[in-house]
Homo-oligomer: 345 residues x 4
């Protein structure tokens, strides 16, 4: 890292900071510029020490040179990770299409949706049984009953089940039914949950928190990877900005940016990322054009009566059209949307 | 709520939505304007139904009239809530001053800090034993050993202990030592934790998430209040914006805004809210001038060697000066900073 | 609009506001709900009156029902506007590809770039002669000399020239050389410039300010349209958010959103929108997939020595590849990228 | 500045960048770290060259060491600038209180307001004659007639006049009547206007754009200072964030931050910064507590009928109370609010 001294830092302050760098086991390399002195610290082991140097006397700022994450970094593992879970393949030339309702509401609702999205070409099924809800007065999910319905839908359609887990104490239960554990945006920095989900051995879909930076997202992934679980999919689902015409702002440049920095696949959620059904299909197409390895879309038999997120859910017919367009995009990009036959690797 | 139809919505669509409003048990009241029709829905029970109406045919938007929170609302309880916990009183004419290190690092560090902040006039002690850290490679806290040190510091100084709990499974343990449970910004929407902390009976300091809206913060408080716990302090600690010269942006207008909407006291954290020691004292003063019911400040015997947050921690001397200024501000506002003698009510 | 009274508003306050609505020439329609009274005001002429009602006694808020813009609205003109300027066609089935350097630096630089982008398939040329620069110490452009070079490049290649005008007093001069006047993001709310550019009769490319809302962008366009100029292209070039890994955040959902609200074509600028050359091509593709009517891209013969914006400029070779991919995207979307032969309509 | 090479940058790339640094007239100082090479460039003349190096081969990023502004910097001029204009003194121990309506609407409105704010203790008068309005359908100001009314109000009350100029071509006209030229937030980067206002010789109140960084604000000030005008007041008036309960977010930490970086005085606008009359007084107090050198507040005889900004305007009575509290704050801070008698220096 680089310790930038203030203009007018005294020789004593500079000497003090050189010694501090040495105390941290790093090799100090001072450079005396025309207006300021900077001290390069060689041997840095990521940002562990950076913050403590910032409060040294005469220090203007400390600039990190290394990214703070390790295992998630493409510098460490140059080849792209491909995540496979049941019918789902995400990464490299494969684009996963995950679709289904926000919440599991009933067997009828879930099974009809599963059939419809399967028919349209989805490669996995989504549906929430444990729902984190902003308001305590909103529908909180069917819990284990919902998981059973999801499993039934998988049995019938063969589609892998992606479902959210919102508490470390539920991980075992959810992992007993799901093919992929989803960590929601609100829980991106719930480290106990990340570690427990990581230890479950199930692939994890990790959603970006609405104010998380790329480094924070990758460090959250690192908690899961460090628990011995290499199968992490990152999910861009939108950030909080001043834009009020969409529920969140969906910054698709994070897709190619993440591809440069990490080997982990990147999935995009245009449903939460826009909050309006009419904007979902254009943004699903845009996600694929930007290089996304997967798209996760909310679909409901009757959005008007959905218990949650109806305003951003596609009907079966709308989803059919979205899939047709997404397939054209994938073709143009030289990528494939395929239902995997588990067992074939 | 108000259902706003699109310009050109058909009579059938309007009739359909009138019926939908009726189906929800509300009384529809259509108003035919010059360009658009709107349907007022009378009898609304907060935003439970709002979102489902948004996906109706011909609907442009649905405008809520009521705030989504109930129990936290000043409309429901006009008099301000005063929270008392050991030496700490927060609310109404009382301003609480909570000070201490980011992390409990050692008995020596904690006790010396407790003595120093007591001497300077702090009314409660902060210190983290369980640390949620962005990076898995950062110091994660002393856990129960840290709690014991905090309790020892309380025994010696008489200052109430405010400390963070990061997992529902730790609530009992932490509540066994703490006077106030802190819910950190990352966990503001960890609903299981909110409910468990609420059920513990201990007063809760609830930090605003860096991208949470006021409604989301108040609904999170509502999870705690609904668990039967009336002693909730809200804490503004800054939001994520494009500003890069501060760690977060500290929007003090949320203090008077919250006072209008809720009876719960509002505490401000200028340490996290700025991320730079030199900005902490001015913003602590500004918080009191804006009407804050409490301030929580990071103080460390030697910020340069702190295991976390050194760059935003005050030295003992700096904290002494900050307290002197804060006291002047409180006087000018006609408010008091006092160490409560528990047992006196 | 809807005037929402506070809970507990007195009958006198309600009566007062009913009279205020009447005084504004609107028809008041009070609705007495279970918790609050709201007053619908019928005959609203956009948001002229809204703000004055907000400070009335007992008023909680005033909710507008109509969009504040008129002439730009798709409700007023349902068919999409197609803008034609020399070789450039933007809108409907036509996608314009505008390419060239950030700044005109020399005849050699400009002509070689013009030839290269023509060869790759661009349909218009960009290049700045008047440069608004954050720092007074940065290169400010060649001014009229730059305009002459641009005109020479058009003469040779046939490509229409898009160039920025930064001051109302320069409009005549710039309009004498340019095919399209660009209004930069910093000037989106420079109303005198908008009106003068509007009056020039030249098509205008209006860039969104980095913190402008959609309504503000459309109202800025309305200043130009009201000057009698129907040929306005809106340009999404990114917004300021907390994201630090890109120069701005490029929110592509604004493309389909704007298509719903306005008949004006929407161009996307992935160069400024990302600030990194490596992210430009993926975001150009994504823009087309999201439905953009045009893309504007910075290209430079040697980005490393560019006098401005080199870090986000494509080389000729990179631009060639970008065009090939964009053409695939356009094909998949059923749209065309064509060089117009002026005179053919 | 520091050129950070990518991990795996080749010796050729490193050598190329060392030569590039040399070509820019700087002295390269390469440091070969364990994972990366960085090249310090000594002799840097602010960010002129930084961006061009960013597109070099193998470059990860370029980190500036110097602030991009010069003349505004406190490093260059350590003592605080005090701006005096008629009755107004701003800076050092003096706090200026500028008050008046958003727009000049009539002689009666302006004179009555001038008398009221004078009586309450304001030290200067504000009022807009040229109004930049988001919507072309809103009231655009009385223009020169408004300036004459402002001058009449000054004649009667002795208060200095602060009024906005929105176009370079109006600077002479406005400067003929005003004591201070205000550059509004929308025009913060209208460089032609900045230079012309700078050349007028009148003190300038420069408002921060709602998405401007601190560096951008200071560079905008630098345009004015470089025109030979040392009397620049910076004005924090709020930024665009996701917060929807206030019109803008008022980040008061910019006050102490700016005091560290620049010698220019800092004024705060709590009216635009909050957008709600009820939040103005607490934030005015907070601004002074944070160290502001001035506060600018909207006051109107009858906010309910104001032609602009009524919802954020104080009544005379409210302003009287605000002044009383602000005076207490100033006292507590050891600062003074005084009406200057021009001629006394």
């Amino acid at each position: 890292m680089i310790v930038v001294m203030k203009r007018g830092a005294t020789p004593q302050e500079i000497e003090h900071m050189i010694q501090r760098v040495r105390d941290l086991g790093l090799k100090p390399h001072p450079i005396y510029g025309t207006e300021r002195t900077v001290i390069a610290a060689i041997g840095e082991k990521r940002d562990e020490h950076r913050h403590s140097l910032e409060s040294g006397p005469g220090v203007a700022e400390v600039v990190p040179i290394l990214a703070p994450y390790k295992v998630a970094s493409r510098e460490v593992k140059p080849e792209s990770t491909v995540v496979r879970a049941g019918s789902l393949t995400v990464g490299n030339s494969y684009i996963g299409m995950i679709a289904g309702p926000c919440s599991v509401e009933s067997e009828e609702q879930m099974l009809s949706t599963a059939r419809a999205v399967k028919r349209a070409g989805a490669t996995a099924l989504r549906g929430g049984a444990f729902k984190p809800r902003t308001s305590p007065y909103s529908f909180q999910g069917l819990k284990e009953d919902g998981l059973k319905i999801l499993a039934a839908a998988r049995d019938e359609t063969g589609l892998a089940v992606v479902t959210e887990v919102i508490s470390a104490s539920d991980v075992d239960l959810v992992a007993g039914y799901a093919d992929v554990l989803q960590i929601g945006a609100r829980n991106m920095q719930n480290y106990h949950l990340l570690e427990t989900a990581g230890a479950s051995g199930k692939p994890v879909l990790l959603k970006r928190g609405p104010s998380a930076t790329m480094d924070e997202l990758l460090l959250a992934a690192e908690y899961i990877l460090n628990a011995g679980n290499p199968n992490v999919m990152l999910c861009e689902r939108g950030i909080r900005t001043f834009e009020a015409h969409t529920r969140f702002t969906l910054p698709l440049a994070s897709v190619p940016y993440l591809h440069e920095r990490t080997h982990l696949p990147v999935v995009v959620d245009p449903s939460h990322g826009t909050g309006h059904a009419s904007l979902v299909t254009p943004m699903a197409c845009a996600a694929i054009a930007a290089g996304a390895d997967g798209v996760i879309i909310e679909v409901h038999p009757d959005p008007e009566t959905a218990l949650s997120d109806g305003y951003q859910s596609l009907t079966f017919e709308q989803f059919g059209k979205a899939m047709a367009l997404c397939r054209k995009m994938a073709d143009a990009m030289g990528r494939q949307i395929v239902v995997r036959e588990p067992g074939r690797g």
